[in-house]
Symmetry: C2
Subunit: 256 residues, 2 copies
């Protein structure tokens, strides 16, 4: 039997992903040793809470097993990440940057938690899907050891799949939120409280937790109810952009 290895971790970054990840690692059986940030002042409270050493010098980070780079996509391609320990696994958390930006490190991979993180809202990390990729089986096994300690949902996702996933997430999250936003504006214009729609938004998301979205599609477009569709388009006469969005999305549902 092999004793369970405790991994020593460093996180680079103090944004939303880095923060949520740091708290999750702190609650795991592994050890968060370093938080690396260019803005020490901003991260002081955060480091204290997670009882972690704080540095703004990447080259201070030593004797760790895994370095998780959770910084903006642009910064990932810069010199900033060129002085990391040679013997550690170096991985990043981005959905859209290819793994090979880390190819100068002999052990590298992806540690992509697919969720929308916000500083204001606590989140149960065990429900966050973590998508892993690695440049060797050995590296994959170590990343998996950490990921499975943090979350019940760990997936092997290659770089091509990760691109598709990131695109799919734009529809499932960003464009969905735009739909909410448009509905809020329509409420506001008619002097209606957005609270009237919030339970509907909640239930619509709940329904697809156990069904395929195509199985639970409802509404005038799904019924091809021309009378109501025309009435809606007329209501949107003063909003040509929203009217156009209504038309195109209705068309897509009818086509299906």
């Amino acid at each position: 039997m092999i004793a369970k290895k405790i991994l020593n971790i460093a996180i680079i970054g103090t944004g939303n992903v880095a923060t949520h990840l740091a708290y999750a690692i702190k609650d795991s059986s592994h050890k968060l040793q370093w938080i690396v940030t260019r803005n020490k002042l901003q991260a002081q409270a955060f480091a204290q809470k997670t009882q972690t050493s704080l540095t703004n010098h990447i080259d201070e980070v030593k004797a760790v097993d895994i370095v998780i780079i959770a910084i903006k996509d642009e910064a990932l391609q810069s010199d900033y990440i060129s002085q990391l320990p040679e013997n550690a696994i170096i991985c990043h958390t981005s959905g859209s940057v290819p793994m090979n930006v880390l190819k100068n490190y002999s052990k590298h991979g992806i540690f992509y938690p697919l969720q929308t993180f916000s500083k204001q809202k606590k989140l149960d990390f065990s429900t966050v899907p973590i998508c892993l990729e690695a440049n060797s089986d050995e590296v994959f096994t170590k990343l998996e050891l950490l990921a499975k300690d943090l979350s019940d949902k760990v997936y092997k996702v290659n770089s091509e799949q990760r691109k598709a996933l990131h695109l799919a997430a734009v529809f499932a999250c960003n464009f969905t939120n735009l739909m909410y936003d448009i509905s809020e504006n329509l409420c506001q214009e008619s002097g209606l409280d957005f609270d009237i729609l919030r339970p509907l938004i909640h239930e619509t998301a709940e329904k697809v937790q156990f069904h395929k979205p195509s199985e639970v599609q409802t509404g005038p477009a799904a019924r091809n109810d021309k009378k109501i569709i025309d009435a809606h388009l007329q209501l949107l006469d003063q909003h040509p952009d929203i009217q156009n969005i209504y038309k195109i999305l209705t068309q897509e549902i009818i086509k299906k």
Copy 2:
């Protein structure tokens, strides 16, 4: 002091709205006396469970305070609903049919529960917003008495507002579900389990329960990240319709 009046209710219809409403009334302090349906066979189990009399003759319905018509919009405008008791309040549950289709009845109104109901999924009715309208204060007070017994969220919504609300609900529910559907198709094409996206869908809906959607918008369009937007558009080259939807929704987010 006035003793709380127990209202006697009849429901016309056995679809999703009628079914959920019937169960909710059964659990309330009011009395569901009749279920009226053209298809007695289909509704037998349902009537038994709610211990209610079942009839397919509208003119059998007598001595009730409120008749709730929960049938398809088309049927609402037909002769089917012309023989209801004169002295009862007659209301319908549709988001898109004007109140005046009921103008032949001296006491009439709207009892519109704004939620997406499905037969498969139980729902806590106390969280369902009920939008009320009535042709007199007296009628409104009675509808409100029933509504507040069923739900914690009762709103006064006039016919113009109800039209806007129904339109807003198409964005918040039907078009949102289309976004889910597109994301599911993209996953499937890349051999990815839709389960990877389900927590993201859940969390995206949770975020707007306490925030305005515009405050929590994220993603490449919100950052106007042209590099990623272009990469996504290229990924969609084989799907011109979805590519077009991506373009237009991205444009709308950037504009905001």
